[in-house]
Point group: C2
Chain length 154, copies 2
């Protein structure tokens, strides 16, 4: 029987998002990968657990990757996240100098890449990663809708 292929970065990010939801966090997950696909950092939101509004999945995964690499810059790496990053995380991705940002669901309300502050297009941005949006969009969005739907019913 052939071995099943390893999970893709967006599948790993989705797993982190599901684990975050199970902890009562807004279900967003993020993964940082090297060019060979190896995972350097992966995290789900920890805003509630850490009582820290800056503990978004992206920032946690980027920090992990930088520690793993022992370098504050990750110029060959990809950040993959289930939701369009907010302005804070988009600017962090720029500061960590990632090559590429891939995300799942678009976030017209709080996103800062394709919406709102459009961080990578702002004159205050000195490194704009390549952006790919809409990966497994339906699945990533459903996870958030289910979570907020549940909250409203409670």
């Amino acid at each position: 029987m052939p071995a099943s292929p390893p999970p893709s970065p967006i599948e790993l990010a989705l797993a982190e998002a599901r684990a975050a939801a199970a902890r009562g966090e807004v279900p967003v997950g993020a993964v940082v990968t090297a060019p060979d696909g190896s995972v350097l950092g992966q995290a789900g939101n920890r805003v509630e657990a850490d009582r820290d509004p800056s503990a978004h999945a992206e920032i946690l995964a980027l920090r992990q990757a930088a520690r793993r690499r022992d370098s504050p810059r990750l110029p060959d790496c990809t950040l993959t996240v289930t939701l369009e990053p907010c302005p804070m995380c988009a600017q962090a991705a720029s500061f960590f100098r990632v090559k590429r940002v891939c995300f799942g669901a678009y976030d017209p309300k709080g996103g800062g890449v394709e919406h709102g502050a459009r961080i990578f297009a702002a004159p205050s941005c000195h490194h704009a990663p390549e952006v790919i949006g809409g990966l497994r969009e339906a699945e990533c969005g459903a996870l958030l809708r289910d979570f907020f739907g549940l909250l409203r019913r409670n």
Copy 2:
């Protein structure tokens, strides 16, 4: 002899900035204060020390204050910082729900409050703190100019 008044938040932030410069960090310092003036968090940049581009003075001071208060929201607090916050830190200040952001030097190149992404004015911003810029502007700016001047001469 009358006791000298306690240092103001911007004086404390300047002291943190000078201490950061002495460690080889970009000299930016930040302080979070409660309405009675008590200090809940204070920090200088730790980007180099921690090899973490997200370790800006503002984020570190906000996290400290939230831990001190055991609350992720700081709705009665003021963040005072020697330099106009970047988009990452401005968005973080919004997420921590601070009442007011006071800063020293304006940063036309990297700032995200009065320049660039203008985070608090973006539709992705759901809590816009009051903003007071230009506190001890000359002193805060000179600290940065001296630091970068020294770097260029080395």
